[in-house]
Amino acid sequence: MLFFKRQLPLAIAFIFGLIGFLAQYIPHHSFEAVYNELISWVRLLYAFALILGTYSLLRLHFKRIERKTAGYGYSIILWIGFSVTFAIGMYNEGDWFLTGQSRTGMLMWIYDYIFKPAGATMFSVLAFFIASAAYRTFRARTMAAGMLLVAAIIVMIGRIPIGDMISEHIPTMAMWLMEVPNAAVKRGIFLGVALGVVATSLRIIFGIERAYLGGD
């Protein structure tokens, strides 16, 4: 039993990890064919993982409706939103779901007038919070935070036409801040991050890192 729970997943991670790793160094056409097929497998598994995420969301709200916890009315709205949209998606303007997705129709309407505006508005609410944070919490408490704020102000003014009107040095300074120190720091950070990603990936392939299996 332990073999299936522990050894098999680690063996799979090792084998396919090695294939994915070697594929970048072995250009040979036969290895390339295997590699391409595995890539489309991974894409398919992304989709299955999405089903998992949607299922846990819907189950959470279904439980709220069942137990009539406070605010279960909102969960009902969530369920209605999901089922109507998914049903229209599958109806697919009459061609149903065993053909290509139709380019127009009800699903696109839902996308244009519910999905798109709600998503964009949700993010734009952040602009208000930035303003309130700018007034109340962005303080030059330490020397470091002070330098950060000075650089931020130069870039913010340098990026809008008013910056050019005040003096043409501000946009050049803003551009320089982005091109030299910012680029240098990003390169230094990338070198470090890449080592972190490679080290973690190696640990996953060799079965040293098992946290992603979610406990034993």
Binding site: E32, N36, I39, S40, V42, R43, Y46, A47, T99, G100, Q101, R103, M108, Y111, D112, F115, K116, P117, A118, G119, A120, M122, F123, S124, A127, F128, I130, A131, S132, A134, Y135, R136, F138, R139, A140, L149, A152, I153, M156, I157, R159, I160, P161, I162, D164, M165, P171, M175, M178, E179, N182, A183, A184, K186, R187, F190
Partner: protein, 284 residues
């Protein structure tokens, strides 16, 4: 001025601040002061690249990898790039890595094409959405037709004149990724560094700083950053669009924000001086 009043000023209910931002943004929109916009080097680099593609009648692959949340900042870029391409007769192949992005890509592509009566199939095509990110880019580099056998409306791409003799990403003159998150990196890591096509990107203001190191290395030729970048591109192609109009309220709110930061810190330091003076008084 006592420290209590300073504290009161600092702890202003944040809803007043929200109101001030709203008034400033709406107000600035209706005041008509003309804004001279000076295009930056990186935006000019993308403009020149498309001009070059136009010169040798090439094809541009525009990957619109963004979703509704980032549409306000990125669609003006896609529209400006598409207007530039269609006005110069450059062939465009559209696609997206983002599951929510297919619809957006479709609307902006069709509306921009209609302005220059570019025909679907001859002048432009839309491959639509496919999952995989970096893996999809590798697939397109190795065998374009295997990655996208059909366009987004399920027609075989070999029947579309604009895409029929593309066998790999290397056959495309200029790849542009207008991206809201890491998609531009997938294009660079798994695409440009392996297949060496010319690569440019348009990103949200949040991501622009991460792209700069790759401009120096020559991996990215041409970058549009945020709404300001889009306004600059609109100025370059001489067609002021949403981005340019948006610059007025954008600038107004920016100035308001800078004032908030300066004012907040000014009071903070004043309060610090008073506090030190009080402590010195207690010590004596």
């Amino acid at each position: 001025m006592q420290r209590e009043t300073l504290a009161k000023i600092l702890n202003l209910d944040r809803r007043w601040i929200f109101l001030m931002v709203l008034i400033c943004a709406i107000g600035a929109r209706f005041v008509d002061i003309d804004m001279q916009i000076f295009p930056k080097k990186t935006v000019k680099a993308m403009y020149d690249s498309i001009e070059e593609v136009a010169k040798n009648k090439g094809t541009v692959l525009l990957s619109m990898d963004y979703d509704p949340a980032a549409k306000p900042e990125l669609e003006p870029m896609s529209r400006a790039i598409l207007r530039h391409c269609f006005s110069k007769g450059v062939k465009v192949i559209g696609m997206t890595h983002n599951p929510h992005g297919q619809r957006l890509a479709q609307t902006v592509l069709e509306s921009s094409a209609a302005e220059f009566d570019a025909k679907y199939g001859e002048d432009f095509a839309l491959l639509g959405y496919k999952a995989g990110g970096g893996t999809l880019v590798i697939n397109m580099g190795q065998d374009f037709r295997d990655a996208f056998a059909k366009d987004f409306a399920n027609t075989d791409i070999r029947s579309l004149p604009v895409a029929k003799d593309i066998t790999s990403l290397t056959d495309i003159d200029y790849v542009i990724s207008v991206a809201s998150s890491g998609y531009w990196e997938a294009w660079m890591i798994y695409g440009h560094d392996r297949y060496h096509f010319k690569f440019g990107t348009g990103v949200t203001g949040v991501i622009a700083p991460d792209v700069f190191p790759f401009i120096q290395t020559g991996q990215v030729t041409g970058l549009i950053g945020g709404l300001a970048g889009a306004a600059e591109y609109e100025t370059l192609i001489g067609k002021p669009g949403i981005a340019t109009i948006g610059m007025k309220p954008q600038s107004a709110v920016h100035v308001l924000l800078v004032l908030f930061v300066l004012f907040g810190n000014f009071i903070f330091f004043w309060d610090m001086i008073l506090k030190r003076r009080q402590e010195k008084a207690w010590k004596r």
